[in-house]
């Protein structure tokens, strides 16, 4: 492992925490579909993908722990709401299936670009975690892309509801592209490419929507920035639920 200064350590935490938190919250929200997915097959597939996402978050928390940050368990169970860095896109509670497909398609596509761009960081433990994550990410991206296509071509009602859902999702995209405090940290890790992912994401998603005959909705300006810990009461509820079992016996061995 190369020598990492305390400033580097802090910078990498600012960069990785939003990515890990996005994965964790996406996994948590995805798991809420258990028993609710359109069919039994998707129930299995989505549960598996949600477990994968939690696993990806854990890998990244482990990289951070190695750099002297708190352990994965502590990250999830002992962090106050304001310490979380995920975006609104992954946090919004379960609505309908079209919303979930549109939402996860947007998130997975962005996360895929972001993880590939992280390959420029060169930190060995991070690269080894990324290799594992990207292998599964390829499949996650594909899964939601297939669903997007299925709903887009699933008849007039299906298409209309997907289009409506996409517009709703686009109104929540604002802080997806934000780096909060991490913005200045990117240069320190040779990762300035990460700050210009938005046009890449837009061109990829725009091309796909065009292909499927869907309109490009308006992207709303961000109202609050999850990357700065602004998540609203919705997240307090989620965090309380996530930590409820652990809170029964905080010092216990699980």
């Amino acid at each position: 492992m190369e020598t990492v200064t305390p400033a580097h350590r802090e910078a990498l935490a600012d960069i990785l925490l939003p990515i890990a938190d996005d994965a964790w919250i996406a996994g948590q929200r995805g798991s809420e579909w258990l028993g609710m997915a359109p069919d039994l097959e998707e129930d299995l597939a989505l549960s598996s993908i949600s477990q994968d996402a939690l696993g990806h978050a854990q890998l990244l928390y482990d990289v951070l722990a190695e750099l002297g940050n708190r352990e994965a368990d502590e990250q999830v169970y002992a962090r106050p709401a304001s310490g979380w860095r995920h975006c609104r896109l992954v946090q919004t509670p379960r609505q309908d299936w079209a919303d979930f497909v549109a939402r996860r398609y947007c998130y997975e596509t962005f996360d895929d670009l972001r993880l590939h761009a992280l390959a420029g960081a060169g930190h060995a433990p991070l690269q080894s975690a990324l290799a594992k994550i990207l292998q599964e990410k390829l499949y996650h991206v594909r899964h939601f892309d297939t669903w997007l296509q299925t709903l887009a071509w699933g008849g007039t009602q299906s298409r209309a509801r997907l289009q409506e859902a996409m517009a709703g999702v686009f109104s929540e995209l604002g802080d997806l592209f934000s780096w909060g405090q991490g913005a200045s940290a990117l240069a320190m890790w040779n990762l300035t490419a990460l700050s210009s992912l938005r046009p890449l994401w837009e061109s990829r998603v725009r091309a796909r929507l065009e292909q499927l005959g869907l309109e490009w909705p308006r992207v709303a300006a961000k109202k609050s920035d999850g990357r700065l810990g602004e998540h609203g009461p919705e997240f307090s509820d989620l965090l309380a639920e996530m930590t409820s079992v652990r809170a029964m016996e905080p010092a216990g061995e699980w």
């Binding site: 509670p93 309908d96 007039t156």
Partner: protein, 147 residues
């Protein structure tokens, strides 16, 4: 089935009132919404490694071959890697049971098709008696140099 009931419950529970209404109407109109019973069944075959035969492991319902592969991956290959997975629409498979003329059945005596009719045991015994071990071959070569 409880899982099915759970799913129905989930649909009723939709968070946005407007969307909930939309879904209910959609179900009634039918047309664009594919009922689970109408979704094609795909039979799934998993090939554990390059030298094994793909083995039938079960079936999934899916709206496309691509989806069938994705669902099969999750339903049957969650714990172990596979060399390959095949999916085939169940209605594309022609079965002998549907055409009884082609169904292999035990009819007249076919014992003559089995290899049991030849008594090779004495030949085999004689051959084994003649056969040498590798050490014997080596010893034989040492006693006859230059050959």
């Amino acid at each position: 089935m409880t899982a099915k009931e759970g799913r129905k419950e989930g649909r009723k529970e939709g968070r946005k009132e407007g969307r909930k209404e939309g879904r209910k109407e959609g179900r009634k109109e039918g047309g664009s919404v594919m009922a689970i019973e109408e979704t094609p069944v795909y039979e799934v075959f998993v090939q554990a490694d390059a030298l094994s035969f793909p083995t039938h492991v079960g079936s999934v319902r899916a709206s496309s071959p691509e989806f069938a592969l994705q669902m099969a991956r999750e339903a049957f290959c969650r714990r172990e890697a596979a060399h390959d997975v095949w999916v085939a629409r169940a209605d594309a498979i022609t079965k002998a049971r549907s055409d009884s003329a082609t169904l292999p059945r035990q009819g007249t005596d076919k014992r003559y098709r089995l290899p049991g009719g030849y008594d090779n045991a004495p030949h085999w015994k004689r051959f084994k008696a003649m056969a040498m071990t590798i050490e014997e071959v080596a010893a034989d070569m040492r006693t006859k140099p230059g050959r």
